[in-house]
Amino acid sequence: MTTSLLVADARTKKRNAAEKRFQAYGLSAIVVAMLALLVLLISVLFNGLSSFQQTFITMDIALAEDRVDKQGNRDPAEMAKTTTIGYNSLLRDALIATLESEGLTTDLSNKDIANMISKESSATVRNRVLANPDLVGQTVTFDVLASGRIDGFFKGDVTLESAALDQNTSPEALMLAQELADRGVMETKFNWNFFVWPDASVQRPEAAGLGVAILGSLYMMIVVLVLALPIGVASSIYLEEFAPKNRITDIIEVNISNLAAVPSIVYGILGLAIFINFMEFNQSSPLVGGLVLTLMTLPTIIISTRAALKSVPPSIRDAALGVGASKMQSVFHHVLPLAAPGILTGTIIGLAQALGETAPLLLIGMVAFVREYTAAYTHAAGLFGEASAALPVQVFNWTQRSDPAFVERASGAIITLLVFLLIMNAVAIYLRRRFERRW
């Protein structure tokens, strides 16, 4: 049999086919990985974007003196005796009046009509009146929150069928809401308050916000930055520039690379045992959270700082020493400034990691329900000592609640968290590009 170089034989064909297959496996692995990223992001966006919008009812509320200020003296302390229950009926009457003026009739009971308004709204209106007693006696236009079910209806999460099985709403209420929306009384619009309001109780998903959680995360980031950056830089300088090569520094190095791989939840146990049980810091305080996250991010910062120090060529050090600088001066006046962009980049990446960390914070009590905005300093609790929430833990909290409206909130909180991370990483990349130096 004659063979030609131009005609591939069976074995060559087989080997070439195997080559093609192998390449296809590799390419499909990359495609799968990128698809996974895409699906993840789309699913979160799809579920969460609606949380940035909220349904409001615009109505005129007659703040009659006999309803909100029974003594008639405009004294906030006296007016505070009218509880939110009193305001509930005020809001209900206002909505009924609005229905009448719009020419809408309904067979819903007064109680069902009241249920269309969020229970949170009465507190909002009450606080406004208490803050400004001059409003009493006037008719004021308020944008009040609609209830979670009505809000869900406009976002497509609640349907007429599901409402028929639901104790908290009814198909009639949803139809009425649709009528109101057609007349412009009810409107679903961007809700800036999602980022400002504190968490709300289990029955009021429509009023839950991220205010306290963002504040708590911010405080923790401050603690981490203030502690981890100097400690990390100091320890890298020592290990990289001064440390003698001996057993002890060897142990420290192995130790740091192992700490970087310890599961984060173990740091939570450490925080619970040492900071809370032993040192008796306050549970769920940003201080403890910040300390735990500091210990967790230290290895990351040390590793990147050492890499940055290492990339500064020895000629810089030699030149500084040659003109008479001390070792300290050569490091702090010359090496450190040149390594600063690299250190900063590593620090920002470490902070981003700390911002998204959840597990250790669960153990130190950051799951607590906190409605008060956390003060940075109080005399009783000290610096960052008041109980607070944190952004990723808030997500976890909301997933544990039974009302499905909280799933939307959790996804919205995730989007917020991811946007923060994106900004931090973008800054890190920008710094690296801007100041990167090739020696």
Binding site: A18, E19, R21, F22, Y25, G26, A29, I30, V32, A33, M34, A36, L37, V39, L40, S43, V44, N47, S235, I237, Y238, L239, I252, V254, N255, N258, L259, A261, V262, P263, S264, I265, V266, Y267, G268, I269, L270, A273, N277, L295, L298, P299, L355, G356, E357, T358, A359, L362, L363, G365, V367, F396, T399, V407, A410, S411, L417, L418, L421, N425
Partner: protein, 289 residues
């Protein structure tokens, strides 16, 4: 100078703190609960009125099962992605795909947890578990395992990528010069040379999987079970640490203290894996330097 030395000892103090905080409470725990029951009992049913069964075996089983599924997802995808990126991909694809895969590593685990809870769990239940008669649970070993696998892809791929790139070009040239195709070169020359390093990368990924918390808390469920069905809810060591230590805790009862024993077990396992993996990776790197 003293300050610098002090700063670098903080890392040591952290380790000491971790070990002692857990050792101390673990001793307390074993003072109240027999260690043989902890390590060998097959049931986990804590009861806050006392008389609990606190056997670690069902938890270890869940941890192991989830981790194995995660690795089954992450290792082939991560490895093939690394091979393709380092051996075949042009600079353009590399510039897009490498950062995209690394983004997966930067996403916080709570995001993966939520993804497991609201997307992957219901999807697996509706399209796999129910039609195939495996149960109706949305939170399952499979849910947590698959999502965790996605999270681990970048760990496997970026480490393997480094290791494959460290294999000297001369070895590839030799093989190609003898007439082997590119894939034959990779399979028979590059991969065997890189194998120890890749094993190290996989071990590091395994230690990540064992210590991972939020994905399993939200995706795997809370029921301690010894079962083979991957679509059933099971629980892991980390989930139980969270559930025993959140809420009202009483630091005198074994039901709370057991969390420290679980934590210590977790720490020892992951530390062992890490030390072993780092040892392998380091030893391998020196080989070609």
């Amino acid at each position: 100078m003293g300050l610098l030395i002090f700063a670098s000892t903080i890392a040591i103090m952290t380790t000491v703190g971790i070990v002692f905080s857990m050792l101390f409470e673990t001793f307390n725990f074993f003072g109240q609960y027999d260690w043989r029951d902890f390590f060998f009992s097959l049931s986990w049913s804590p009861n806050f009125r006392g008389n609990s069964d606190l056997g670690i075996i069902p938890l270890l089983w869940g941890t192991l099962y989830v981790s194995v599924i995660a690795l089954l997802v992450a290792v082939p995808i991560g490895l093939f992605a690394a091979i393709y990126l380092s051996e075949y991909a042009g600079p353009r694809l590399r510039a897009v795909a490498k950062p995209a895969i690394e983004v997966l590593a930067g996403i916080p685990t709570i995001v993966y947890g939520l993804f497991a809870l609201i997307t992957v769990g219901p999807f697996l239940r509706d399209y796999f578990a129910e039609p195939m008669g495996f149960g109706q649970s949305a939170s399952s070993v499979m849910t947590a395992g698959v999502v965790m696998g996605v999270m681990l892809i970048p760990f496997v791929s970026s480490l393997s990528d480094d290791i494959i790139n460290a294999v000297p070009q001369a070895m590839r040239d030799g093989s190609l010069g003898l007439g082997a195709t590119k894939s034959e070169t990779i399979r028979q020359v590059v991969l065997p040379a890189a194998l120890p390093g890749i094993v190290g990368a996989i071990l590091l990924a395994a230690s990540r999987a064992i210590g991972e918390t939020m994905i399993v808390v939200l995706g795997a469920g809370a029921a301690a079970r010894l079962s083979l069905n991957p679509f059933e809810a099971m629980t892991t060591v980390t989930v139980k640490i969270v559930s025993q230590l959140t809420g009202d805790t009483d630091f005198a009862s074994p039901e709370t203290l057991v969390a420290f024993a679980l934590g210590l077990t977790l720490f020892v396992i992951t530390l062992g894996l890490n030390v072993f993996a780092l040892y392998i990776v380091r030893k391998y790197r020196e080989q070609y330097e």
